[in-house]
């Protein structure tokens, strides 16, 4: 069997789009809502327009993300604890390095992987184990060596208070595998990277939607987990068993 020709793909595309256009000729009834009216914006072609909730800005009905930076920070710390992530807040980079080294000694890490980022590179010198730089320019990416590492140390794009999530991107956080393959994921971030709600993080992604959009953005919410066996929670299904967040500032 060989790949389909572009003409075959176009034919399938046209057939499906024609079915969709035909199906949508009959308008659907408006959605059932809990009471308050939705505003329907009319569309030029006379079809039902996009319906939006009047009070959508800010979404005051989702879980709270805090109104002030201090409140957001408290909610973030609270959420990370509930997610069974390990959270440290330290005053400066030197303290962050001390904190990281203590984790390395406590867990007896033999080798950690990292990527070149001022926050990561700035605290790694002197760590009591060997290191693997994942983005060294003169070396090919080696997934087997990375798999053998005890921890992956990355920066992040931002932290979301509302959900306790950490946003990583493939271009600024060491690629796709560094934050998921090693058994422990350590995130080094600064306190000004905390945003209140998910929408803020998505706005940040949209702003980066330029010619060179990173190929992956991932919201990481706690260590990897599963409940597939009798719905009993187990941490560390396939991704990191431990998530350590060190927040500087």
């Amino acid at each position: 069997m060989s790949d389909r020709t572009p003409a075959e793909n176009t034919a399938a595309r046209e057939a499906i789009l024609a079915r969709i256009r035909e199906a949508l000729r009959v308008p659907a009834p408006p959605p059932h809502l809990s009471g308050h009216a939705a505003a329907a914006a009319p569309e030029p072609n006379g079809r039902p327009g996009l319906m939006i909730l009047p009070a959508e800005a800010g979404r005051p009905w989702l879980p709270d993300g805090g109104d002030t930076p201090a409140e957001s920070l408290r909610i973030l710390a609270d959420n990370l604890a509930k997610l069974r992530a390990v959270f440290f807040q330290v005053p400066d980079l030197a303290a962050a390095a001390d904190c990281l080294f203590a984790q390395a000694r406590e867990r007896d890490w033999q080798r950690v992987a990292w990527h070149d980022h001022p926050l990561v590179a700035g605290i790694l010198a002197g760590i009591p184990c060997s290191t693997l730089r994942i983005d060294a320019p003169d070396e090919a990416f080696d997934k087997r060596s990375l798999e053998a590492c005890d921890a992956g140390i990355t920066a992040c794009e931002c932290l979301v208070a509302q959900t306790g999530s950490i946003l990583v991107a493939s271009d600024s956080c060491g690629g796709r595998a560094l934050s998921i393959l090693p058994h422990c994921h350590v995130v080094i971030a600064t306190v000004d990277q905390v945003v209140p709600v998910l929408a803020d993080a998505l706005a940040l992604i949209r702003d980066r939607h330029t010619a060179n959009l990173p190929s992956m953005f991932s919201f990481i919410t706690g260590p990897s987990r599963t409940g597939d066996i009798e719905r009993i929670l187990v941490l560390g299904a396939h991704g990191p068993k431990e998530l350590i967040v060190i927040l500087v500032g």
């Binding site: 790949d3 499906i16 408006p30 992956m216």
Partner: protein
């Protein structure tokens, strides 16, 4: 190589592999068997007990869950009703990001596309993350028949693959399997010592799978949302297996139904937390990942190519039914299964469908034919628990009624018609109605004792209440005096 892996890859008996004409009989037979299995029912209820607790805890964190449902419902309503505009917009943005889109009218076309891509890439070993669309098109059987090694990486799906069974529940695939059965299964296939610890069992799968991620050359995933604004696909998972599936192999193939489009990236600010809360009682699922094409210049890892198969497979037939179009809002959270009294009693396999439970009963007649699948519309007490649980406000239990009505219109049952005519005749003649009631009250004890053919099946598992001494009308008259 995974292709030489000692694990046999049992071919799933696809749901509906039996003759369609017997789908209803199959349902009735399986349901009767499951209902008698009280141990199984108790086990499933216990497994769901934790879900109710954590779902309630998480829902309480929303400042207004009902308004959040409104917003989620509107986001999906707007997208589904503008699919003709948003789907091409998504595809243009996705291809601008470097991915390739393949359109599939039906399951056979989707399978052929994927087999073509694997051959072109000279692939041998395939690793998959959880993907219900691939179950829908029976992809694993097709890949295995073509000689590819396929491994399901999601723990629940992996267990089901080893068992040679399809998923029991489309979010919790092996929720019906006890830990000792899993221990035996791993012992048999992976040669591991027995254990009764869910944690140790999970670690066995973890250790086994790690090698396979590194060795596989193709990763196949589903997609939860297609973002028209940015051309990204969003994948939601807890275990990290999808992240690994899309990080290490050199080819990424995603399969998605055409209805998964949302207009704005910002819509995910509502949909991602609600999917997690409704589906598993979590604030957010552990990994929510947006992919836009293969590895970029300057990125060190990730696949060389990314392909997306967009699947119709009768979704446009459901789209054409304006009354039930909202069934396409479904984000596959599984909340309606978890609260459904029918699902909890008959179990997931009885449905014989890819999508089980209330939402499956609504959409399957559209996807696979009303004639053979309408019996699922009867698999409901119409209690509406599913509709209340749905985060995107699909009117599920009314759609089950709509399907019953449509079936009555297209293929009316003569017996039912006769019954209704008889009822109208009796009910419109008060003396006859009263006489009928008297006869019923007098003959009920006799019917209980004799167990005549039509009643015996009912009486085998149920008790009849004692007959009232007088009719409701008589009691009412007496009270008014």
């Amino acid at each position: 190589m995974i292709a030489r892996n000692p694990i046999p890859h049992p071919t799933h008996a696809p749901p509906g592999a039996h003759e369609p004409a017997t789908a209803k009989q199959q349902f009735l037979a399986d349901a009767a068997e499951h209902i008698r299995d009280t141990g199984h029912r108790a086990f499933v209820r216990k497994a769901l007990g934790g879900y109710y607790k954590s779902r309630d805890t998480q829902q309480a964190r929303y400042r207004d869950w009902e308004q959040a449902r409104d917003a989620a419902s509107l986001a999906k309503w707007s997208a589904v009703n503008r699919l003709d505009e948003l789907l091409p917009r998504f595809v243009a943005a996705f291809e601008a990001n470097g991915g390739r889109v393949h359109w599939a009218r039906d399951a056979a076309e989707a399978r052929a596309i994927i087999l073509g891509l694997l051959e072109q890439a000279n692939a041998k070993a395939v690793i998959k993350s959880k993907c219900m669309t691939s179950e829908e098109i029976h992809l694993n059987a097709a890949l295995e028949a073509a000689g590819y090694g396929v491994v399901e990486s999601d723990l629940g799906e992996f267990i089901q693959q080893l068992r040679g069974e399809p998923p029991y529940h489309f979010v919790f695939p092996c929720m019906h399997v006890r830990r000792d059965e899993i221990s035996d299964l791993f012992g048999k296939h992976l040669g591991t010592p027995p254990t009764d610890s869910p944690e140790e069992l999970t670690m066995i799968a973890r250790r086994h799978m790690r090698r396979l991620y590194v060795e596989a050359d193709v990763g196949i995933t589903g997609a939860n949302f297609l973002v028209a604004e940015t051309g990204q696909i969003s994948i939601t998972e807890n275990e990290g297996n999808a992240r690994l599936t899309v990080a290490l192999p050199r080819l990424h193939i995603a399969i998605s139904g055409i209805e998964k489009v949302v207009e704005r990236l910002d819509d995910l600010a509502v949909l991602l937390p609600m999917l997690a809360t409704a589906g598993a009682g979590q604030p957010m699922t552990c990994y929510n990942t947006l992919y836009s094409g293969p590895r970029r210049a300057g990125e060190r890892d990730g696949p060389e190519e990314m392909h997306l198969v967009l699947l119709d497979n009768s979704r446009t037939a459901l789209l054409a039914d304006a009354e039930q179009r909202d069934a396409l809002h479904c984000i596959r959270c599984g909340a309606c299964l978890n609260v459904c009294p029918i699902f909890k009693n008959v179990g997931g396999f009885t449905y014989g469908t890819t999508y089980q439970g209330p939402i499956g009963s609504v959409i399957t007649p559209h996807l696979r034919g009303v004639a053979n699948w309408n019996h699922l519309s009867g698999a409901s007490s119409l209690c509406g628990a599913c509709t209340d649980a749905c985060p995107v406000r699909i009117d599920i239990h009314h759609h089950l009624l709509h399907n019953r009505r449509n079936a009555a219109r297209t293929a009316p049952s003569r017996l039912e018609k006769l019954g209704h005519r008889l009822f109208v005749f009796v009910a419109s003649r008060p003396w006859l109605f009263a006489a009928g009631g008297w006869l019923f009250r007098k003959s009920l004890p006799l019917a209980k004792a004799l167990k005549p053919p039509l009643l015996s099946a009912w009486l085998a598992t149920r008790d009849l209440p004692p007959a009232p001494r007088e009719s409701f009308r008589a009691a009412w008259q007496r009270r008014r005096r």
